[in-house]
């Protein structure tokens, strides 16, 4: 392995030394691949976008413009996969915080897009606000192992016709880290969004060189590409903005109840989205993303943290690796409504499993509860604890002479202790360190307040919010961003309906 990327010096980045844990064998992977191609060619994809249908038709796909159905020949898909870059860069406001997705490092990003927030003061669940997003970005800016921010919450107190721009403004003003726009659903906002990127990176020409954002598209199962899931992204792709193509099959509802069937269906859908993007702009950096959910067959709800959903993520991670694409996957997810035991065990299992099976970016959907619907600040730190543990686990076991510590073992002998041995003193800072987990004796714990981990997280969070000051943007850039957003508020309001 070569030396660490520059970014390691400025933030903490997971290093993947453990081999990938696989849930499919080579034959399984080939079968899913071939069946996916066959589904796209013979069943086809329903696409609610004339623009996307035209692109496919122009490339030779069998398109029924009336039924909005495109049957995509296998060779088009395979060529598209070849055009997609193997490793990609996600740029940041501060170039020192750029992410290089090379398969050897693991990055963590927030999840969303929630509409609700558990109010930090009252503890009550309420619609999210722009200041919640500002806070979340400030926290991401503080946490070393969280390398990027995905829109954790869509504010309900800003105009919906310009929400993307308000979100970007809130993020840019509160963190220097990479931004992945979560709810990119309106092409009309894209020119303003690009204008904002240009204001930060120094002009429109610079956007292509350093797009400081990426965008997520959440395609719809079974085999549907909505207009808002492709047209804004086609615009962004022209500027080299990386796109994470995400499939969210609901096992038993929008996808087969079986794990293999959901892997197959989701894989086919992601390939369809990728094909359109690569046909339109060859070389578009894309990421392969999986966020499955399970339909609860008894209660009617759903959860992304079931064993089956996690196996679908694992299968998708493996398929994405088969295509050589950077993997952007969920996993640190929960259906719980509170920062409680359920949220902790679901997120710990899911985060670890997703990272073990190949997520290059993901694993750290910190702070989100209720299946991506609610942001909880205390939960952000509980999940951060999980993230840092997972990152340490993936580093595996180092086996050099210094790590084997034979000298120290001989020095200490059969008696004595290692506490103050020079080997301990030179390496103890390398071990995982808890931020909020309790290790005290019972009495010491009781004396320090006898608090649950959620209460400890709350106290720590208060301190971070009070003390962490992100590096601000230059005043003229801040003003320019604010001017763009205000202009969009006004100009886009005229045609309030998106369609």
């Amino acid at each position: 392995m070569q030396g660490p990327p520059v970014s390691v010096i400025y933030m903490k980045v997971g290093v993947r030394r453990l081999k990938l844990f696989r849930v499919l064998n080579g034959e399984d992977v080939n079968k899913i691949h071939e069946l996916s191609l066959s589904l796209l060619q013979n069943l086809g994809v329903k696409i609610f976008s004339k623009k996307a249908l035209d692109i496919l038709e122009g490339a030779g796909a069998d398109v029924d413009q009336h039924k909005l159905l495109a049957k995509i020949p296998e060779h088009l898909v395979e060529e598209a996969v070849r055009k997609a870059p193997r490793s990609i860069d996600l740029y940041s406001r501060n170039p020192k915080l750029d992410l290089h997705l090379d398969g050897e490092h693991i990055f963590n990003i927030t999840d969303g897009v929630a509409t609700q927030v558990i109010d930090f003061d009252s503890g009550r669940r309420r619609p999210g606000r722009k200041d919640d997003l500002c806070k979340a970005a400030q926290i991401v800016d503080f946490l070393d192992y969280i390398n990027a921010i995905f829109t954790p919450v869509t504010p309900q107190d800003t105009p919906l016709h310009s929400h993307m721009l308000h979100e970007f403004e809130a993020v840019l003003n509160n963190t220097e880290k990479h931004y992945c726009a979560g709810a990119v659903d309106d092409s009309r906002e894209i020119p303003y969004l690009l204008e904002m990127v240009a204001a930060v990176v120094g002009g429109e020409e610079e956007i292509r060189r350093r797009p400081i954002m990426s965008a997520c598209t959440c395609l719809v199962n079974p085999l549907i590409i909505p207009r808002e899931g492709i047209e804004p992204h086609l615009e962004l792709a022209k500027y080299n903005v990386p796109i994470s193509i995400v499939s969210m099959p609901i096992l038993g509802a929008t996808a087969p109840i079986t794990v293999a069937g959901s892997i197959l269906l989701g894989n086919a859908l992601i390939l369809a989205g990728l094909t359109i993007l690569e046909l339109a702009n060859p070389g578009t950096p894309v990421m392969y993303g999986s966020y499955p959910l399970s339909q609860d067959m008894k209660g009617g709800g759903h959860s992304g943290a079931t064993p089956e959903a996690l196996l679908v993520i694992a299968g998708h991670n493996q398929m994405g690796k088969f295509y050589g694409l950077p993997i952007y996957s969920g996993g640190t997810t929960t259906a719980s409504k509170l920062p409680d035991a359920q949220s902790a065990y679901e997120k710990a299992l899911g985060g670890l499993f997703s990272a073990m099976t190949g997520a290059d970016i993901g694993a750290g959907g910190i702070g989100i509860l209720e299946n991506y619907n609610t942001l909880c600040f205390e939960q952000m730190l509980i999940d951060y604890e999980i993230v840092t543990m997972v990152m340490k686990l993936l580093e595996g076991v180092e086996m050099g002479n210094e790590a084997l510590a034979l000298d120290a073992i001989l020095r200490v002998g059969c008696e004595g202790h290692y506490l103050t041995d020079r080997h301990t003193l030179s390496h103890f800072r390398e071990v995982w360190e808890p931020m909020i987990s309790d290790t005290k004796s019972y009495d010491a714990w009781l004396k320090s307040g006898g608090r649950s981990v959620a209460e400890v997280a709350r106290g720590r969070m208060e301190k971070i919010l009070k003390s962490h000051v992100p590096v601000p943007l230059d005043k003229d850039i801040r003003e320019r961003l604010s001017e763009i957003v205000r202009r969009a508020d006004k100009e886009l309001a005229r045609g309030e309906a998106v369609d």
Binding site: H417, T420, S441
Partner: protein
């Protein structure tokens, strides 16, 4: 010492540095191994260099008090006791460490010989913690508990256990042990 700084001043300087480190540890700014390593370093310097000089000058060093400490008979788990010894010594106590698997008789003899203010009894196992009580009984039989206070600790022990066997105090961990011992000698 080579520059003729009075030995007691050297000791005071060590104490003030260690106190500062202790405060930093409490605030989460230092790691326990750093605190203990610093304590051990200072203790070694005092024992090897400063004490001989003091003796030469006929000056007596003031400590917070003397503690006879050991892991009781039947138990060889001594890492906790070692940490407590290091922390107490760092805090300014004179520590007489009897080691591990210490026979009851040896505690009695050590109290007679060293005349400490405190006796510390450590045990990790439910089967060996019984001997904490036996040491206290033996000290009582010999009339040695007058002027001596007993503090106990170890994973299976508790405040209730301390009360049951007639110990004066229970310390749940090494950090607390320092506070408990200070308060037992009226320096808390």
């Amino acid at each position: 010492m080579d520059q003729n700084v009075p030995p007691l001043e050297v000791i005071n300087a060590f104490a003030s540095v260690l106190r500062e480190m202790g405060d930093k540890y409490e605030r989460g700014e230092l790691y326990i191994v750093e605190l203990i390593a610093a304590g051990e370093g200072c203790r070694k310097a005092i024992m090897d260099i400063v004490e001989p000089k003091l003796k030469l000058l006929g000056v007596e060093r003031k400590t917070l008090g003397k503690i006879v400490l050991g892991t009781v008979e039947g138990d060889i788990h001594d890492i906790g006791k070692n940490i407590v010894a290091a922390m107490l010594s760092t805090a300014g106590f004179e520590v007489v460490d009897l080691g591990r698997d210490v026979p009851i008789k040896k505690f009695v003899e050590a109290v007679k010989e060293h005349d400490p203010q405190l006796v510390g009894l450590s045990a990790l196992m439910t089967i060996s913690m019984i001997n904490q009580g036996e040491v206290i009984k033996a000290l009582e039989r010999e009339g040695l508990l007058k002027g001596v206070k007993v503090v106990i600790g170890g994973a299976p022990t508790s405040q209730q256990w301390a009360e049951k066997i007639g110990a004066d105090a229970y310390a749940p961990d090494a950090i607390e042990a320092v506070a408990v011992c200070k308060s037992l000698v009226g320096r808390g």
